[in-house]
């Protein structure tokens, strides 16, 4: 039966359907060839990108401030006919990996990259970035001296800026003034952690879904290690001594980490081990936290009625201290130009526009003064409209950034620079591993002692590479 069917199929094929089959084959071949030709044209993203002039590829981190830049880019393109901007927007970790891969291998993918004060000095030393100081000095009205001192210094190498700040931040303590008043409590003008802890205990009210304090617990060197490192610093701890001996099991570090995890266990937010900036920000904005120690940049969204239920109810205090005079971190997202860019002058036109005084005014006028990128320029804080919009947090923000000291972050001397990170390439990996141990301690999967013992092993390996280079 099957044989007969096969025979029938064979006859049929060789007979009347032959011409139609040929036509089909021809059509299929033409379709595939057409698709392959289309594919050969690089990709659909190229469609519309063939306008005359220069197209700059800009790699940025996905955050609200950069979304504003994208929204306002038509103003730049209008002012600079012939220069077109294409953005590659990625989350922080992916952007960091992609930009590092591209710049370190000397690829020509990007004309402008968004990096931070962690990468800038190292990449400048490795000659991966264009020295922007000559560009900044000869651009009329750009005024690089207007950048806030510690931010400018943290983006410099041998006195020259290799990236320019888009926005800057430190850390401070945000607290609910209404809850403090209801509990007859007062926030000291310059609080210590020993004063903050009992306040958190008193304000912690799980029955009403209010955490005493929100602190980051999720793993990542830019996540829980950022606030924790400032606590370690002010408790007198450090990662390494000046001879690169790991110090993560020292009494000061163990006391600081025990304090941090203990405070989270007693009065922290629910599911603290997976809470980061976004989760704590949501808790605070929804009225579910009495205090939050985090980035100064958070204040803008807490005072924005569109995203916050606690507008006008927040007080701002300096980062709590113990043994140091200040303890806030220092961080800046900045724009740099890789040496491999084929359009350096056009790239500088874009970079100088996005970090200029006029851009800050443009954001204020078109999108609202609360959305102005903070912490980069001193002149921002002289704008009357911004002073009005940011009256509650502008002063504490500038104060926090100005008092950050990346060279002397803790009591004893350290062999590197950086407050909440170490300015060495190995820190990304080391920090991530240590942060995972800390998260395990926060989740009660490990004791602080065991987490730090494991962390010490990681740190010792890195330290050895500097002791015996």
């Amino acid at each position: 039966m099957r044989i007969r069917q096969a025979r029938r199929r064979g006859r049929h094929t060789r007979g009347s359907r032959q011409p139609r089959t040929s036509r089909r084959r021809l059509a299929a071949t033409a379709s595939v060839a057409g698709l392959l030709l289309t594919a050969g044209c690089a990709g659909a993203g190229a469609v519309g990108g063939s306008a005359p002039g220069t197209t700059l590829t800009v790699a940025i981190v996905a955050n609200p401030q950069m979304a504003d830049v994208e929204q306002l880019t038509p103003y730049f393109e209008h002012q600079h006919p012939g220069v077109h901007i294409k953005y590659v927007t990625l989350p922080e970790n992916e952007a960091r990996q992609k930009i590092t891969e591209s710049v370190a291998t000397g690829s020509h993918e990007f004309d402008v990259v968004m990096i931070s004060n962690y990468e800038t000095p190292m990449w400048a030393k490795d000659s991966w970035l264009v020295d922007l100081q000559p560009y900044a000095d000869r651009t009329p009205g750009y005024d690089p001296g207007d950048f806030i001192g510690p931010i400018r210094q943290s983006l410099s190498y041998r006195g020259d800026m290799y990236s320019v700040p888009f926005y800057g931040e430190s850390s401070f303590l945000m607290y609910r003034k209404d809850l403090f008043a209801a509990h007859h409590l007062t926030m000291p003008a310059h609080p210590t952690w020993d004063q903050v802890a009992p306040l958190a205990d008193k304000l912690n009210d799980p029955a009403h879904h209010i955490a005493g304090i929100c602190l980051r617990g999720d793993p990542g060197w830019g996540e829980n290690l950022a606030p924790l490192d400032t606590v370690v610093n002010t408790f007198g701890g450090r990662w390494f001594d000046q001879r690169w001996n790991a110090q993560l099991t020292s009494p000061a570090v163990e006391k600081a980490v025990s304090f941090y995890t203990g405070l989270l266990h007693r009065a922290g937010e629910p599911a603290a081990s997976s809470a980061g900036f976004t989760e704590c920000g949501t808790d605070m904005a929804q009225g579910n936290a009495a205090m939050w120690y985090d980035a100064t940049v958070a204040a803008g969204s807490l005072e924005d009625p569109a995203s916050s239920k606690v507008v006008g109810k927040i007080g701002y205090a300096p980062a709590p201290v113990e043994k140091t005079n200040s303890s806030g971190w220092l961080y800046s997202w900045s724009l740099g130009i890789p040496k491999t860019s084929g359009h350096k002058d056009a790239a500088w036109q874009f970079v100088s526009w996005a970090t200029s005084k006029s851009y800050i005014k443009l954001v204020g006028e078109k999108l609202g003064w609360s959305r102005v990128p903070p912490g980069s320029r001193a002149s921002t804080y002289q704008i009357p409209q911004y002073q009005k919009a940011a009256a509650a947090f502008a002063g504490p923000t500038v104060q926090a950034i100005s008092s950050a000291d990346p060279v002397h972050p803790t009591v004893d001397p350290v062999p590197d620079t950086g407050v909440q990170f170490l300015g060495i390439p190995e820190f990304e990996d080391l920090g991530t591993r240590v942060s995972q141990q800390i998260t395990a301690a926060i989740a009660r999967q490990k004791s602080v002692h065991d987490a730090l013992a494991q962390s010490q092993q990681y740190a010792r390996t890195v330290g050895r590479s500097y002791q015996h280079p």
Binding site: R2, I3, A6, R7, R9, G10, T13, V32, L35, L36, T38, A39, G40, A42, G43, A44, G45, A46, V47, G49, T57, A59, V61, A62, N63, P64, Q65, K86, Y87, V88, T89, L90, P91, E92, E94, K98, E101, T105, S107, E109, F110, H209, G222, P270, G276, F277, T278, G281, T282, D283, Q286, N288, A295, V297, A298, S301, S307
Partner: protein
């Protein structure tokens, strides 16, 4: 010297035979519990998808409430935001990379599967092992050499690069799958066709392929799913012109600000083409994956 003592067989006491009325009841209860278990498992697997779709219709603030809201005022604002973010080129790139790489996989995989099943080449076992061994190297370990090679030939941010890589990525699995489907074809049918004088190409295209169509559909769908969802190569090797949907999706994730609802809307849109392909090929797929190609 020990002497082995034969063990006395112990016969367990026979349980009381169930009454004739309890047998159907037990059977019904057994079936019901299996059905309930299956539904529960399906619900557990489907719940994240349902949650994603629901979140896509929420405002950002509603998506982040500590106690999740099942009742809310639905909005299309997130879908509008996704469309305004320029989803078009990403969709087109994903479609190009997926369709062309799947076609290439089938064009190369079908002859390979035939040569490893119907007319086995010499050392076919070694060939099969070689194919699958290419999947044993973690992609992350190979990314730097691949990146440098692609950079040196000027093929970064080019959709053609993704098509070649996705073809290479899917080909070993496709060859294994197709081979297993080809083995199901009765040899007698092929012998009969040969007696009728068909050429090798006719034997494959006119006799065998129609019989294993469900298997080919299943293989193609697996390739489509893998290519459509691939993130690592797309992230590392593309930027502006050739970026695909997964890269577009992660662009909504921010460390400062709310993004769940927008991400859910974008993910819902990204799922639709694969869902549609699966729905269209459902009949073939079920036959191909569960019953074998020709049984």
């Amino acid at each position: 010297m020990a002497t082995a003592t034969p063990a006395t067989p112990v016969t367990p006491a026979a349980p009381a035979a169930p009454g004739p009325a309890s047998r159907p009841l037990r059977r019904i209860l057994g079936r019901a519990s299996w059905t309930a278990g299956a539904w529960l498992a399906a619900l557990v697997f489907f719940f994240p998808v349902l949650w994603m779709v629901l979140t896509a219709f929420k405002q950002e603030a509603d998506a982040y409430t500590t106690t999740p809201h099942l009742v809310f005022s639905p909005t299309l604002a997130q879908f509008r935001a996704v469309f305004h973010s320029g989803i078009g080129p990403y969709l087109a790139n994903s479609a190009l990379a997926t369709v062309l790489s799947t076609l290439l996989v089938l064009v190369l995989g079908i002859p390979a599967g035939y040569a490893l099943s119907i007319r086995s080449v010499r050392k076919w076992r070694d060939a099969l092992f070689f194919f699958i061994s290419t999947k044993m190297l973690p992609v992350v370990a190979a990314i730097v050499p691949i990146y440098l090679a692609v950079r040196d030939i000027g093929a970064l941010d080019n959709i053609g690069t993704l098509i070649v890589l996705y073809t290479a990525m899917n080909l070993p699995i496709a060859v294994w799958m197709l081979r297993s489907f080809f083995l199901e074809v009765p040899v007698e049918v092929l012998e009969a066709a040969r007696v009728d004088g068909v050429t090798l190409r006719q034997e494959i295209t006119r006799v065998m392929l129609p019989m294993v169509a469900p298997g080919i559909a299943a293989t193609a769908l697996i390739c489509v799913i893998f290519s459509w969802n691939e993130f690592f190569f797309a992230l590392n090797l593309t930027s502006v012109r050739a970026a695909t949907m997964p890269v577009f999706l992660v662009g909504f994730m921010t460390s400062e600000g709310l993004y769940w609802a927008k991400l859910a809307a974008a993910a819902t849109l990204a799922c639709l083409p694969v869902l549609l392909a699966g729905w269209i090929a459902q009949k073939q797929l079920v036959r191909g994956l569960s019953m074998g190609a020709v049984k």
